[in-house]
Amino acid sequence: MKVFIDPPNSLVLFDLVERFGHQPLSTMAAIQERVDNIEVDMPPMNVTLDDVVKGLKYAGVEVPSGIRGRMALWGPLIEEADAAIIMDDCPYSFGCVGCERSNLMVKYLIKRRGIPALHVSYPEDDEQATNFVAQTKEFLEGLE
């Protein structure tokens, strides 16, 4: 099954999803597609007109362009996903207008789609990490 991970470029979540037998949907794959197939200078910093149009599907013209740019990458992945794993309080996942609103938008879109979603918290010690891995494993094994 295709599992969307949030943060969408997380190494830990990507590895765990793949390790337990599913296909992770990540930012890296979306950017790779643009690197390989589209002649733009530096994706995701540079976007095409198609990306802008895709982004408008999720956020209006009045919202910051950073949100539309991110949603152009992540939105189609969320639509493609069969399930999602969301790490709620990552220390590197923060921001003000563009970053944080995009993160909230991702969570909202996952909820609106109604796919099975697991919310986990960032493990601070070995006990929490064990719980996190066990919880993720049980969730992914239950998706069959």
């Binding site: 830990v12 990507f14 930012t27 220390p91 719980n131």
Partner: protein, 139 residues
Amino acid sequence: MSEERETRLFMISPRSMLTPDQLVRMVHSFGDKAIVKETCYGCLVEAPRQLVLEILAKVREEYPNEVFSKIRAYPCSDPRRCRAQHGTRPGFAQLEEEWELLARIQVGLDRVDAGARYVPPAEKKRIPVNDFKKICEVH
């Protein structure tokens, strides 16, 4: 996901005794078809997707919970990213943060392999009003 080219990042957990040099030598020993680049955290491997997955499976077989991997959008030594060609390196701050987390994830995977199961955290309850009153009166 492209079948022709996959660049994969192998990151060694800080709790592991494995070094990037040992990992690169191991990947080299699987054949000369893949491009392997040693980095401070492990290595980058670039090859057709099927070959990369075979290499990943062999590395996991040897070091099941010590080496973690994810795909990388840009190819190895891409001038837009490579430091040798004065490229930018966005994303490294997150990799560094996640590298620290890998030590805990390694322990978690080891324990889950040994049979640990998910234990839901104790539910937080509201303190009774009388107990709260006593606390307030003490202070």
